[in-house]
Symmetry: C2
Subunit: 257 residues, 2 copies
Amino acid sequence: MTFRAPLIGILGGMGPQAGLDLADKLIAGTNASVDQDHLPFVLFSLPDRVPDRTSFLFSRTDLNPASAIADQFEKMDEIGVTIAVMACNTAHAGPIFDRVLELLKERGVRMRILHLIRETVAFIGRTYPDIRRVGILGTQGTYRSHLYDDALQDAGFEAVLPDENVRRNNIHTALYDPEFGIKSFSNPVSSQASSLIHSAVDHVRDRGAEAVILGCTELPLAVRDNYAGDVPILDPARIMAALLIRETYPERAGKNP
Amino acid sequence: MTFRAPLIGILGGMGPQAGLDLADKLIAGTNASVDQDHLPFVLFSLPDRVPDRTSFLFSRTDLNPASAIADQFEKMDEIGVTIAVMACNTAHAGPIFDRVLELLKERGVRMRILHLIRETVAFIGRTYPDIRRVGILGTQGTYRSHLYDDALQDAGFEAVLPDENVRRNNIHTALYDPEFGIKSFSNPVSSQASSLIHSAVDHVRDRGAEAVILGCTELPLAVRDNYAGDVPILDPARIMAALLIRETYPERAGKNP
């Protein structure tokens, strides 16, 4: 028994909520009036088998999570997944993502794998052809691995980064503060966290950003879509959900994004 | 490559949010300080392949969804799932669930499958040994298929059902009203819907219920845990999440329920 094509694969677990978040946006982005209208997907969430991505990228361990990730993609391929994506920003850094592709090629796995970061950048190019300067909010790991800035520059954009003070005192604090941070309190997000992130949006806009990428799964929880007026606020998970729909069952695409 | 045991399987898609809801409660119920502490699971959500459960139970079609469900369990078994559950109340009705087990037996699939309804009832017996009368809030389909009342009676409990008026004007309306119903507005639930459901809780409590089962995925969104004072309000998805943790990685069990 093999599932009928097309079938979407979400590789989650990095962390576990990020996989659910993408699945949730896939459902929300589908134009459906009964259960049967919703798109078929499998979500793999095996966080205990995937070594820490940041530790590997910053050379605190030699253990490349690519191998555990490739195992999961291989299994998805076996059960009939036709298009897949990792619900994790950090895992798209070259030393991990490129190694995943290499391993899958060695094993003869030909399933299509979308690149969260590059697809987000491509979306901006398609949707806002006049925009050149794009702000990035993310974790310290995102900045240090140059995930979004490299992809933006490769595509001809200029990356607008917050200064070190805003990275630490606004974004990092809003995410990790034990008293009010989004990692601890996400439903609802505290007004302190929300306000710190909104100020970070203002900061990159003041530096010239004409659009702002929220390059960390938890950030969209803290920012109103229309916060920055005519400066688009971009959620990579929502962009990816829309792309997955368009690439599998385009007739089911909803209005967002 | 086979995944290491134990591995949890969630058969979702009926509807799609119910699978995510159970996965979310699995994550929330796990005592974890890093991503790697979280439990491994796969979620299958293939709503387009599973015929409508209610239509089959009420003889509006001959197409038993059991076959499509069994296909998915078989595939889970192949990739190494050791314990699985369907995130759907209705699919546990005898004509569907029993047929699923029959098909899997014919195919030699031996993976353990938990029964959402019976495990919820067993949980009540274990946790509240003095309780005899249990209220049920659910959809019209839940009442007509006697899902919870049969399971409660089999286990020696007395089922306390709301009268027809409350079923229709409180529960059904709170779920399906196009202006304020939970199916349309769940984040947050409207105060009208919440108030209608709270009244339904009061109603079964007035009829003698010493605990109340919220036998429909959306209902827990509308009821505060401690709404009925010392009368426990029971969410089968949360009970199942806790059971899945206990049966796979008991050392990771959190405090709830």
